[in-house]
């Protein structure tokens, strides 16, 4: 089978005056639109551009482009073509090896409606209790079902193109008609990345936020409003599916949680920055994390709500150090219906 090809419409860029993809970037300094346009043209023309080296791979330009033209995927393609390494080679090698399918997947009692646990063990700790009554066992886990979007961070679009069609096929072969994606990045992959590469997705991907909303409405009677103020940690793959952001407000509304207005939410969200650390070193990553956390403190967050388990790993301890209670969205829902939190801060660092 020929490899999927990125569907990118250069005429849209030609007609674009705002160059929001670069001008909006929080990590590259393109205040000058003309300069941005020039650099972006270099990317399109497959010339060397500072963009290819400076890109932090935060995914945000996917959201900024008003034409849905996948500027970030193009950057990734170009980085790979030019052999530009956004992260050290051994880190990329580690990722490529770690997620290759080797037949060690887990398939539960899968029904037409199933949960995707992606390749994230965290999710097993989270999926418990009433919220998942009747569906928790209908699940798939492992490299065979891994969305592979992570290679966008590592200039390896070729791996996505190679593995994603197999992943889609594997899911289809389970007879799954509706896949509730517990990892936001899977949802982004099946709704944005797959279509950008012309890969057909023969099942309905459902964002787990949508699933939670529906369940919470069913469980309305047992919800005890939390009455808390929370900062939302918006993750990179949320940029692939910004249409799901309203669910954050919907869920918060159902739980009595106030989403604090702060500098770094919505379009201006800051990355959890652990990918930055591995790519660009600690000073840059520490600065982003510091700004993000100070922003939460400044705007009075009592809780920091996480969507992505990787953001949790990066920031939960640091938020806690600043007096902000970290909590995953699923656990937040559990808290409101009187159930126990699944993902907790680790005490491992304490041992000497």
């Amino acid at each position: 089978m020929p490899l999927a090809k990125l569907q990118f419409d250069t005429t849209k860029c030609a007609a674009c005056e705002a160059v929001s993809c670069l001008v909006g970037c929080q990590y590259m300094d393109f205040r000058d639109t003309d300069e941005a346009k020039k650099e972006w043209q270099k990317v399109i023309d497959n010339q060397d551009s500072t963009v290819l080296r400076s890109c932090t791979t935060c995914y945000a330009c996917e959201e900024y482009c008003p034409f849905g033209n996948h500027p970030f995927y193009l950057i990734v393609e170009r980085q790979e073509e030019k052999g530009i390494l956004p992260a050290p080679r051994p880190i990329i090698t580690m990722w490529i090896n770690q997620c290759q399918p080797v037949g060690k997947f887990i398939v539960g009692k899968v029904e037409e409606r199933a949960l995707s646990y992606c390749f994230l063990p965290h999710l097993y700790a989270l999926v418990k209790g009433k919220l998942f009554d009747g569906i928790a066992w209908s699940g798939i886990f492992g490299q065979e079902f891994f969305c592979n979007a992570v290679y966008l961070h590592y200039a390896r679009a070729s791996i996505i193109k190679d593995r994603l069609p197999m992943v889609v096929e594997n899911i289809k072969n389970q007879g799954i008609k509706e896949l509730v994606c517990l990892h936001d990045e899977c949802y982004g992959t099946f709704t944005s990345l797959a279509s950008a590469y012309g890969i057909d997705v023969p099942f309905r991907p459902v964002h787990y936020y949508e699933y939670l909303c529906d369940r919470l409405r069913e469980l309305k009677d047992v919800i005890k409003p939390l009455n808390i103020r929370a900062a939302y940690q918006r993750n990179c793959s949320a940029r692939l599916c910004p249409q799901t952001d309203h669910y954050v407000d919907d869920i918060f509304g159902l739980l009595g949680v106030e989403r604090i207005k702060r500098r770094y939410d919505q379009e201006n969200a800051l990355c959890c920055a652990e990918v930055f650390r591995m790519a660009k070193g600690p000073a840059f990553a520490d600065d982003v994390q510091r700004r993000n956390l100070e922003d939460m403190v400044e705007y009075g967050a009592e809780y920091c709500v996480f969507n992505c388990p990787a953001c949790w790993d990066a920031l939960a301890d640091k938020a806690s150090d600043r007096g902000i209670e970290p909590i995953h969205m699923i656990d937040l829902c559990k808290l409101a219906i009187g159930e126990e939190q699944g993902l907790r801060l680790s005490e491992s660092g304490a041992e000497v």
Binding site: L85, A87, P88, R89, P90, I91, T93, M94, N97, Q98, Q100, V102, P121, E274, R277, M278, G281, P282, A310, D313, A314, D317, L345, S346, S348, G349, E351, V352
Partner: protein, 463 residues
């Protein structure tokens, strides 16, 4: 049987009948260890409680010319406590008192059966500002046995072999005399195993119990910082590993440096993982050390040859735990209850050569391998491990593992390495290669100390 009965009765008279066994079951278990050396049964297993017990037993053995093999937890895996000529195995683990911690002179005096696990717990509870160099063997490993095999642990990068940290010994000589070694021979304080006196500890450390039985041991303790963290540098170029290790050591801020290479789980494949442990009393101190580690490798990071992996708590926990349960878990990789490693002590420049040999040997013998190499001293050498797991229910795989280990040991020796806790076959290889005058000296010492050749015979046996 008459002689056996007599010795049995004599042993019972010394330690009581609950602590002597000549039964088949104990003889079976104490005939072997978890490694690949062929078993040989003792005639008796004895559990002494006091140094007087040990003295009496050794006097008896010397009189009756019965072999005596002291053992801790039997975890060396190279069969050093397999009683090659039968006789008496002394399981020292009942001598388990932690006798004294001198906080100001930073040492502890323990009986020979005290385990690393028990000492770790004791220090954490009662002297949290002090720690010792914990090896990655299971917590039941004893401090004395670990010192006798020149073990290494979490503080070896800074302070050398665990045996370098011994600060005094009390030994029962093969002829039964109780003898103190080091400062404790003239002073109530156990702060030095030798200097400024003639260092007699060398008569016992590294001799695998062939020159006497340690009954008490002083061990140096070191400051225990309040916090500890691990950083993980990855490279896909084996030839960079020695350089990375040296640079980390050069910071003089890193506690422990370990390089791992293994093909599975998949995330390990094709890359070398170098763990750098740092400690601090404050976040600032830790942060300063973190930065120093990054700075030490910054150009290699920029050239994209070295990366640092951000570790989620689930990965960090096992790396920080002491001892490391993951090290032990390697035994069940083949779902078969076994692994063994050849662990030559060698210059760190040999890392790339050794690691490619390991891969080659493992592939040829169809074995699963791993390697965890620890920097010892400020780069003076490393312990490189050629580790193979095997299934105890698969004799063919066990045979292949033994062949592979022998090949690796020979190779390491040819390349200038010195075999660590060498099994009896490797001891022969070492002695064949050894300066003949050195060998003659060893022989004289043994003959002098153990005229009847009763102590762990078969080991360091010079023809």
């Amino acid at each position: 049987m008459a002689t056996t009965g007599t010795v049995y009765d004599a042993l019972v008279a010394i330690v009581g009948k609950d602590f002597v066994s000549d039964r088949k079951e104990e003889r079976y278990f104490y005939a072997r260890d978890g490694g690949l050396m062929p078993p040989h049964e003792p005639d008796f297993v004895v559990l002494p409680r006091t140094r007087e017990h040990v003295q009496e037993i050794v006097k008896l053995a010397n009189r009756e010319k019965v072999p005596v093999v002291p053992q801790g937890a039997g975890l060396a895996l190279t069969g050093l406590v397999i009683p090659q000529r039968g006789g008496i195995v002394l399981d020292m683990k009942r001598m388990d008192s932690i006798l004294e911690v001198n906080e100001k002179a930073r040492y502890v005096i323990v009986e020979a059966g005290v385990t690393h696990g028990a000492l770790k717990n004791h220090l954490q509870k009662h002297h949290p500002q002090l720690r010792h160099s914990i090896p990655d063997s299971p917590p039941t490993a004893t401090i004395a046995a670990n010192a006798v095999i020149h073990g290494q642990g979490r503080l070896s990068q800074q302070h050398g072999f665990n045996s370098d940290m011994v600060s005094g010994l009390e030994v029962v000589l093969p002829t039964g005399e109780l003898c103190r070694i080091g400062s404790c021979s003239v002073s109530p304080y156990w702060f030095s195993k030798g200097p400024p006196l003639p260092d007699l500890s060398g008569l016992f450390l590294g001799w695998f119990g062939t020159t006497g039985i340690i009954t008490r041991l002083g061990l140096k303790l070191y400051p225990c910082k309040k916090m500890r963290d691990v950083m993980l540098a990855l490279t896909d170029r084996a030839e960079l590993v020695p350089e990375i290790m040296l640079r980390l050591s050069h910071t003089e801020l890193v506690e422990d440096v370990v390089a791992a290479a293994q093909p599975l789980p998949l995330r390990f494949r094709d890359t070398f993982w170098i763990m750098a442990y740092i400690t601090g009393d404050t976040q600032e101190e830790l942060e300063f050390k973190r930065k120093a580690v990054w700075d030490a490798l910054w150009d290699l990071f920029e050239s994209r040859d070295v990366g640092f992996l951000s570790l989620p708590p689930a990965m960090k926990g096992p790396l920080l735990s002491m001892p490391s349960k993951d090290t032990t878990r390697f035994a069940d990789v083949s779902k078969g209850g076994g692994f063994q490693y050849a662990g030559p002590i060698a210059p760190i420049e040999k890392f790339p050569l050794f690691v490619s040999k390991l891969e080659e040997v493992a592939t040829r013998h169809k074995l699963f391998y791993s390697s965890t190499s620890r920097l010892i001293g400020a780069g003076h050498c490393m312990m490189f491990s050629f580790s193979f797991s095997f299934n105890r229910a698969n004799p063919d795989e066990m045979a292949r593992a033994k062949t592979a280990l022998d090949e690796c040991s020979k190779f390491a020796l040819e390349e200038g390495g010195v075999l660590w806790k060498a099994d009896i076959d490797e001891q022969k290889l070492l002695m064949d290669k050894m300066d003949p005058n050195t060998l003659a000296l060893m022989k004289k010492i043994r003959k002098l100390l153990d005229p009847n050749g009763i102590m762990n015979p078969g080991n360091w046996e010079i023809g």
